[in-house]
């Protein structure tokens, strides 16, 4: 028995997902999809898009790690150093951090561009006499922009799990001989692993699937797989290829997430 929400879930998420998965084994002949069971779409994905795939996983990993670390520091500061203002501070900061996706992309273009704020400042201060081009149109700009976009999404789950960490436990650990590092590693982090994993998973999957940010601030050498997938669907109408690429990045991404989860599991108490 499934309720209405179950039906909606099936219809909106599971069905298209399952359909795409099936399509990834089909063929495309003259703009027509032909049912089949072939792995050629996958082998072509690996052969033709191996580099964008690897690059996407690397940059998404970097973004997810950076976002999760920043979110953790941020949530930690609010949780343990803001006292009774914690909730108000969290609310205000999240409000300012949230904001349209495109708005943030343009904001960073405005800051990092050759005629942007950063260059104007450097020129005015006389530190450089030509606008620097190293700020934008490179992977770094993508990392900065996406991290800024993802931060509030990552702060929430981390803060939620940090809220459950009681001060008495931290004091007890110190009392038993743990220095700051051990308290952090043995008591704080293990208790908020679910929040950390949620933040990392969100950030990683969203970053790995993004194709708008690299297009606007990434420059010609930032080739992320999302961009190519979008092309397969919208320009070439090669659904089997697009689907195979999607499931390849999804599979690789989930494998990396599983690996991270396993690595963090080393922090579980013995």
């Amino acid at each position: 028995m499934i309720g209405p929400s179950g039906a909606v879930f099936l219809l909106l998420f599971v069905a298209p997902f399952a359909f795409l998965f099936v399509v990834s084994f089909w063929r495309k002949k003259m703009f027509v999809l032909e049912p089949d069971f072939t792995l050629v779409n996958y082998s072509e994905t690996l052969a033709d898009y191996g580099w964008p795939l690897a690059f996407t996983l690397m940059i998404a990993f970097a973004i997810a790690v950076l976002t999760t670390v920043l979110a953790f520091l941020f949530a930690y500061a609010i949780r343990f150093h803001a006292g009774r203002y914690a909730n108000a501070l969290l609310f205000v900061t999240l409000i300012t951090l949230f904001g349209g996706y495109l708005v943030k992309i343009y904001a960073w273009k405005t800051i990092l561009g050759t005629e942007g704020i950063l260059n104007s400042a450097l020129l005015t201060l006389g530190i450089v006499d030509q606008p620097l081009t190293v700020f934008i149109y490179n992977p770094g700009a993508v990392v900065v922009t996406l991290t800024h976009f993802l931060l509030p999404l990552a702060v929430l789950p981390v803060f939620a799990s940090l809220r459950g960490v009681r001060e008495a436990g931290l004091e007890a650990a110190r009392d038993l001989g743990a220095g700051a590092t051990r308290v952090f590693r043995d008591i704080v982090v293990p208790q908020c692993l679910p929040g950390i994993m949620a933040a990392f998973t969100f950030s990683f999957l969203i970053a790995a699937g993004d194709y708008v940010t690299p297009r606007y601030v990434g420059g010609p050498y930032t080739s992320m797989i999302g961009d190519f997938i979008e092309g397969q669907f919208s320009l070439r109408f090669d659904w089997p290829a697009g689907a195979a690429m999607s499931f390849t990045i999804l599979g690789a991404g989930l494998a990396i997430i599983a690996l991270v989860r396993w690595a963090l599991g080393a922090l579980r108490p013995r």
């Binding site: 459950g164 009681r166 008495a168 436990g169 004091e171 007890a172 650990a173 110190r174 009392d175 038993l176 001989g177 743990a178 220095g179 051990r182 043995d186 008591i187 293990p190 208790q191 579980r268 108490p269 013995r270």
Partner: protein
Amino acid sequence: MTTVSGGGPGGATPLVRLRGLSKKFGDVAAVQPLDLDIFAGDFFALLGPSGCGKTTLLRMVGGFTPPSTGTVEIDGQDVTRLGPEQRPTNMVFQGYGLFPHMTVRQNIGYGLRIAKASDAEIAERVGAIMTLVRIGELAERRPDALSGGQAQRVALARALVMRPRVLLLDEPLAALDLKLRKQMQEELRRIHQSIGGTFVFVTHDQGEAMGLANRIAVMEAGACVQEGGPEEIYLRPKTRFVSSFIGEANMLAGERRGGTVTLRAGIAFTDAGPDGPVVLVVRPEAIRLDGGTAGLGTTGRLDDVVFLGPYVRYRVTLASGEEIAAHSADTGRRAGMAVGAAVQIGWEAADHRVVAGT
């Protein structure tokens, strides 16, 4: 080998020596500068009403709260500037502070693991301490699956397994219901005797302090107002506050002039001391009804007689309007006492204390 009472003053050097120790939070003087000595083997109580600074004082000893002034010395070493991880103390926190992501066994073994004890040693010491506090069967549980009493024992075991020079306990029994509290009180006494350690605990319950401690420091508004053995504090309270806080006490107002105290209740006697308002403190069990002979006395109206098992409690109103409670173990005599009748009350001068104040 059991240690029932500590060294006490006059013994060897104190294990814990506090000098001029105080703490201010902004404008609030949580603890006023105080000196305190705690000796090896002591079961020491910091007793006082809620908010009087007991926890703050204990936390300064444990290294959790940096003092505003003064020093903490443990075992002859000045530890004032050391954090809790560097002090030979361990604490049982009021909320227990168990690690929710660890099993009971992991909780108890954590300190030893930090100290880099071998797995074999950890297993042995954790096992032994779990037997001592009788929680052997809880080893693989998580804290959220423990009752209050069980969590209390785990917290105790986790601190004791470190073999602290001084064990600090913050209101160790406050969260337990009455029956458990009595049981844990016995348990704490047994454990203290069997390991012969030094325990310092905070409580607002005078019965608990009397029942457990061999020395008690009574605190009032951040100051230590009296320190001594339970008997001394009960029988010779130095201030009105101490006498009212410890056990039940009758208080009679009066005034001292030239070495003579005159009570409002109409009793006068000689008692050396400075002139001014005084309060006479006398315990209910020291009051005799119709005693007649020596000592001090007056008459009053018997208002109430309650049979309480081991003793009978009488309530008498004096001419001054003040009330006196008297406890008598002679439970057979109440038959002849009529409520509303006049009775003679009296006590021996040796049984009362006169303290300055109103």
